[in-house]
Symmetry: C3
Subunit: 139 residues, 3 copies
Amino acid sequence: MWVQRELRLRPRPRGFHLVTDEVLAGMPELRELRVGLAHLFLRHTSASLTLNENASPDVRRDFASWFDEAVPEDAPYWTHTIEGPDDMPAHIMASLLGPALTLPVRDGRLALGMWQGVYLCEHRESGGPRSLLMTVYGE
Amino acid sequence: MWVQRELRLRPRPRGFHLVTDEVLAGMPELRELRVGLAHLFLRHTSASLTLNENASPDVRRDFASWFDEAVPEDAPYWTHTIEGPDDMPAHIMASLLGPALTLPVRDGRLALGMWQGVYLCEHRESGGPRSLLMTVYGE
Amino acid sequence: MWVQRELRLRPRPRGFHLVTDEVLAGMPELRELRVGLAHLFLRHTSASLTLNENASPDVRRDFASWFDEAVPEDAPYWTHTIEGPDDMPAHIMASLLGPALTLPVRDGRLALGMWQGVYLCEHRESGGPRSLLMTVYGE
């Protein structure tokens, strides 16, 4: 079975956002798979996806703090500054975390660990809506 | 062909550990594939998987040094500190490296480069056993 | 449908290089897929793949600047120095970005976002040719 579907994620502020439920709701065909995989793919270069702790908002806030410190807006070496100070750091962060996740499916459900949730990582101040292309396959 | 199997990795100390042989031993069905992929997925948010140099223990030690420097335990901005000083850095490191690898299979073997080995990256002091869900598929 | 093919990427200088067209030309079978995925896998531990902005060379230059700053050659903690000062940073950078990409295919084409291009990230001064194993599958 192969199903592909595009999901439009509403605009979110810069930061790390838990979107597991939204992703699951967007792919009801998961329930028909005994074993398979779900590929989530963000069609952008200044936002990313990652899996991390799904309970405490502190964790997501600390993600923002670390990334803002590690990839500073005011670094002297940026040359691509035409789209604003948050643009080049957003490109770097997007590649560090990556635009895609491949998640295992078992008995009609994502086989995530107890604490794993899907983060949409919005690296721009005003990134707008984000397009997520989901491909689910298996048997 | 779709096969999915869970492997329990024994507890390891904080650091980077070569587990290629253990992973291969856990998935004998690889040998039946002419062409396919193996998806390895760690069901945790404070450990990760990566591919890197499979020969020198120096490389794995230097990985630990760089990550400990880049994601310091004593950073002033951490707010999620309730689970110990190694917890929040572990979450960040886990997302930088990621919980999953998708590896090519050819003629019944992983088609890795000569120097590529699978690292289990244990980011906690006492992370305990780790659950690895493997999904092998192809023809 | 499963197709696997190895592509040899010519030697490139240290830096970030756009290789989308080369990758596409190397996998004509993409055109036969209605829905599927393309897995790109670099068989090396000192080069990597990422997706990022496909228009401005400034962006790729700034990638180099950030990575050189974040993973310095002269860090005092490197112990694996036998293969030159660019070797250990190359291993770290390779794992931060990762050796693989899984890209969605739709109606015979890669379903990338408008600004997404495939970067070959060469982390060594003289990395030589690089082997890219591509696996395309779907229906």
